[in-house]
Amino acid sequence: MSAVIHEDHHHEGPPAGFKRWLYSTNHKDIGTMYLIFALVMLFIGGGMAMIIRAELFMPGVQIVNPDLYNNLLTDHALIMIFGMVMPAAAGMANWMIPMMIGAPDMALPRMNNMSFWLLPAAAILLLSSLLVQFIPGTGVPINTGWTLYPPLSVQTGMGMDLLIFSVHLLGISSIMASINIVTTILNMRAPGMPLMKMPLFVWAWLFTGLLLIIVMPVLAGGVTMLLFDRHFGTSFFDAAGGGDPVLFQHLFWFFGHPEVYVLLLPSIGVLGLVIPTFSRKPLFGYKPLVFFMGFLFALGLVVWAHHQYTIGMSLGATMYFMIGTILISIPVGLMLFNFIFTMWRGSMTFETPMLFAIAIILMFSFAGVTGVMLAVVPADLQYHDTYFVVAHFHYALIPGAVFGLYAGVFYWLPKWTGHMYNEKLGKIFFWWTTLSFNLTFFPQHFSGLAGMPRRIVDYNIQYIEFNQISSIGGFLFGLSHLLFLYIIIKTVKGGEKAADKPWEGAQIGTPGLEWTLPSPPPFHSFTTPPQIK
């Protein structure tokens, strides 16, 4: 029987040609594909944002017609969430989790590859849902926003069907990826790596995976019912037939609110590694942090209707959702405090990942503050569907999710490529994105408080200044990503050789096993269970 095992080509390199990628069963290669896909989608979704900001530079309709505008807006959100943040986080999970916990690969490597390749297929459907409007006779473009509320979404044309099926493929992909990650974490840890010694990133992904397994099917169910209402005469979302359009909102946000934690948690996990490394101190309160994430996981599942305060809920329900939502700021705030206390009296250095980490703490707290404002019902009745909400969630998502991923990219690029990135360019990129991000979204708080509605191509002339500042900031923000691309390509191609442990403080606290491997690691990281001292 042992002969069979030795034939497994464990010590061979990757297969040649396209088969290496298309047929891959290697967690690093699949991780790389996820990351490249996310980068491509970042530019496609970003391009849409540029069109949106260009259109909003002036009131009136200049570049895109109102329906196309709303379709671009819808796809911008879906691409950034499903095409960019989630795949990037999944790519990092693929690369790092097996190495961190001393596993040979993901638990189910073939399914892993399927999870990835579903994404390009879904992206093709999503982009055709945008383009199909240029074919005559395909009906109204998707003008609903990413929330897809009926009755509007029942009335739109063929694009909506393509979008619904795209969401199905994305859902299958995320569920399979999550099953894989959760199984890997629970079953594949090397002896001597108990749960409570796992790096925080692994914990973060465990909760993320569980959340996705629970909420993705709900979204799938919701859009399936939408599909039936559109084509098969059912009345789920039509009150005349006994249904209720508001039900879709409940389904959507039962998925949608946990989804924001899906986007947030992996980045919190990255912070939990970056901050101890560059503070040269163990994480302050590792166990409480795990506990807070668990609390966030549980509470996140039961507060969804704070997105729907204006639908006319009963007083009791409104109170419940308000209090629940405000409670969420407690674990979130405590997590940030843990990070701050980790830095307290550490011997800190400010490499690019650390700069991002510190900026995240500052800017994400800001989103927490606007979040609590929005959670308060009487206030939200004013703010709802204004640019204030847009400002809130961009402060939550760009620092909270995207910058955390950037921190991860800079933190791990040496490990992935074997080369150090150019620290000076990294720092320029950091300051450029951070400043232009604030320039873009800070003014939207004011235009929102002054009443500017979201998801409309045109606006009242009183908002011109705010919008022009936003647009200029937006273009600068977009531009900064060319530098990001340049840094990445340059690092992949060459540069100073990275040590196995490129960061001095990387082994402090609860490290994974990734730093015991060479940079870049061999094609198969571990072939027998590593021993942990």
Binding site: I5, R110, N113, A121, M158, V182, V215, P217, G221, L251
Partner: protein, 290 residues
Amino acid sequence: MSTAEQNYFIPEPSRWPAVAVVGLFFLVLGFALWMNGVSLGPVSTGIGLLVIIYLFFGWFGDVIDESLTSKYNHDVDRSFRQGMFWFITSEVSFFATFFGCLFYFRNISLPWLGGEGQLGVSNILWEGFTYTWPLINLPDVTNYTQLIEPMGAGGIPAYNTIILLSSGVTVTWAHWGLKKGNRAQLVWGLIATIALGMLFFALQAYEYYHAYAELGLTLNSGIYGSTFYMLTGFHGFHVTMGTIMLMVICARSMKGHFTAENHFAFEGVAWYWHFVDVVWLGLYLFVYWL
């Protein structure tokens, strides 16, 4: 054996995941086109289906080969089990969604529409609308067809409950056979389970026919019909998948693929079948009976 326990197993590069994606892509693209009357739609769906059938033979074939040549060790087996467990968890969530919708209509939105409680809106929307379940008289029937009579809980649904429950027993009996190493009991238990599954399917198909032809209970007959078909339809789909899986397992049992220690595939299917069983109990209770 000792090396197998110490070394990790990683499958060779495989074409099947990519084939699966191609199949799914054409399948759903075809659906989207078909629903909009594009003539290429059915073609695309057909291609997708063929690819998926090819896929099943190929991918399962590989896995079965690997299992028979003892490439899997204890850890791989446990990964499969845990993976199946989380898959069924997501399925629970999927059905919970539809049950949740049913409860929402019955206990929250329809009573409001009928004017009950703080948020009663009947006077604004449809004066005189009264809420009953099953909902026979819709608020506004213009775009819908009139339901004549709701589905009762006696007769076919009751038989189906008995059938599915006994199929749970037969599959467990088969499992006992497997554990004892009694292949005849294993195979006959599975054959009985499959037969019961097919019987269920046939009765369900007849019930749908009856509902459409005589009761006026259709997808288009308002929220009662919508929820009825959504819940029973997705359940029926799962029964069908489960029956196909049972057939595969049965064929493999006849070939003697399973041993008392090593039979993850059997257990995975058995779990799935029990899950489908439990969903039916919920259906019988809340869709047919109460």
